[in-house]
Amino acid sequence: MSNVHERLRRLLFLVPYVSKHPGVTVEALAKALNMSREDLLEELDLLTCVGRPPFNPDDYIDIYVDNDRVYVDLDQRLFAPPRLTAGEAAALAASAELLRPAAGDALQSALQKLERILPPSTRERYREMYRKIDASTEAPQALAPLTRAIIERLEVTFAYARPGGPPEPRRVRPYELLSHRGQWYLQGFDHMRQDARLFRLDRMEDITVTDTPFLPPPDARADVPNPARSRTEVSVRVRFTPVAAPYVKERFGRDARPLADGGVEVLVAGDSERWLTQWVLSFGGEAQVVEPESARAAVARAARASVGL
């Protein structure tokens, strides 16, 4: 999109916004418009030159900064922003798909209301563009209660499945939901471990939002799970054939060391034998554990079991 287009969209929102929030600070206005303070002040300068013919003093937009606060005295009928364009509505509706199964009826009704406030001439174009993005990521039902718990800052309890054992009851302060490679995770403070932990949503059962409030720490941003970056006592060296190498490089980037034969080698965390064997098997023979010997043996056992040996 052209610069002029982007600027016009911003300015047609800016004047009504200040009209609605007289005395908004320069800082807050810049944040609302996602622009720097300097750029905002320049745009405010431009707006003072905007008006309608015959350009008498009262025909100009009267917008000014006083004591670092912004006011508009004459808005020249720019008291509300323009309606959503087809592109804006389509992008919003497509992003809403991210939470579709979890959001349920609220999403459906929100989208209906959104369509109602589009200019009639835009509706068809909106529907056409909406079909051009498909972002449904199989959002699990668990997103709904967990999103609510994060917004309302309430602890949650759930049963967490463990491989080879009965599910464990957990009580967690939910900080953040994270989707990575199609897998949804909850990051939060685990009372049992007395530490921040990442939980997979597909292993949670019986999620209950309690009425115990908590204050989230300001920096609760979860790291994306990466087996090549987690520090464990034992590391496992895995080699990939040239066939699998391009895919492994895409996932591991610089952590995938190139080999002379066109393959790559990655050093991954060795703390979960179960994860490692499943991962190596998922390459169907294009991956090989080099060391340690115990990990090689585990993969061999798993391969034998899969053909009933």
């Binding site: 999109m1 922003p81 309606r83 804006e88 992008a91 992003s95 939470l99 929100a110 209301k113 023979g285």
Partner: protein
């Protein structure tokens, strides 16, 4: 006068006008801009008008009659954003999803989305929730997010305007890149990976391209407001983009029968969405499914372990054996290798 300023002046003039404004009047009002030769001035105004329409400005030209004169007029009611009367919950859902998409670093139509969130928040005051939901992209390395984000933005514009694109594509299956002209039909997100679906002129058919594998991208800039192609009416993104590895369209569909037992039996529906399931003896589940990439399914079965067995067809069972044998060969002890 600067173009941005002139267009805003036009907005102010038209929003205030009670009568249609004729082209002659516009030329009078903006002598420095719409002066000069008739042709040049008209072309300039046409461009400004197109920009106004793009912004959602409901501008129309009315033919005069006894009561009204000829000229341009704007439907004010259709211009101003009305309150959508979204409930707190509805607003929260739209905000959660929109912010998750923006926080993800790469979402097509980011600018559009940011403006949309601002507009729906206009009447909400300061009480907007800011939920912490985040979506990370798979297969995008540190430092590459910006590039993918910029490509998605270009592709979104090209999809919206229906303009063809030229791409340099690096497929992991080929050692060299290919240059292709593609009519972009749409973008789909699956497991953190953005896929472009469109008509590939090189292959003469519908193809899918992972956006992070596009090395270069150029959008046709000729006649930006005239579409280059039509999207077939029956086109649906979902039927061309795979959720699971066995859904890649690499061969004709084959029916595969799996049997899940133990802990996997109760998870059959979520592990194999779309499969027909029936209970079998000892608490197991039999799953039948259509597969268009057998190796993808076989690798998934190996990953699931011994509680997942391939019951048929024989070609699928043979493939499991081949892959398992290959894994075993690569992981056998030194003495086993000798005896083998």
């Amino acid at each position: 006068m600067e173009r941005t300023e002139r267009i805003l002046d036009l907005v102010a003039l038209l929003l205030d006008a009670r009568e249609p404004i004729s082209w002659a009047e516009l030329r009078e009002h903006f002598p420095a801009d719409y002066g000069g030769s008739d042709d040049a001035a008209e072309r300039k105004f046409e461009r400004d008008k197109a920009e106004l329409v793009e912004l959602g400005f409901p501008l129309t030209y009315v033919q005069g009659d006894d009561e009204r004169r000829d000229g341009y007029i704007v439907d004010r009611d259709a211009y101003y954003l009305p309150e959508a009367d979204l409930t707190k919950e509805e607003l929260a859902v739209l905000y959660a999803a929109g912010s998750a998409a923006l926080a993800s670093g790469a979402f097509p139509g980011r600018d559009d989305l940011a403006h949309a969130l601002r507009k729906i928040g206009f009447f909400a005051g300061e009480s907007l929730p800011t939920p912490r939901v985040r979506m990370e992209l798979g297969a995008v390395q540190e430092g590459e997010e910006k590039e993918v984000s910029a490509r998605l933005e270009q592709l979104w514009d090209a999809c919206a305007a229906r303009k063809w694109v030229e791409i340099t594509y690096a497929s992991p299956k080929h050692p060299t890149t290919t240059h292709r002209k593609v009519d972009p039909y749409g973008l789909a997100l699956r497991r953190g990976v953005w896929t472009l679906v469109g008509h590939c002129h090189l292959r003469g058919g519908l193809r899918t391209f992972h956006v992070h594998r596009i090395r270069e991208l150029k959008v046709n800039t000729a006649r930006p407001r005239t579409p280059d192609f039509q999207v077939p009416a029956d086109f649906s993104l979902d039927s061309h983009v795979a959720y699971f590895p066995w859904q890649h369209r690499f061969h004709e569909p084959v029916e595969v029968v799996l049997r899940l037992s133990g802990a996997l039996a109760s998870r059959a529906a979520s592990l194999l969405p779309g499969a027909t399931l029936e209970p079998v003896e000892e608490g197991g589940v039999r799953a039948r499914m259509k597969v268009t990439f057998l190796d993808g399914l076989v690798r998934f079965c190996l990953q699931l372990g011994p509680d997942c067995r391939v019951e048929g067809p024989e070609s699928a069972q043979a493939r499991v054996k081949e892959m398992a044998t290959r894994i075993l060969e690569r992981h056998a002890e030194a003495h086993e290798k000798v005896s083998a």
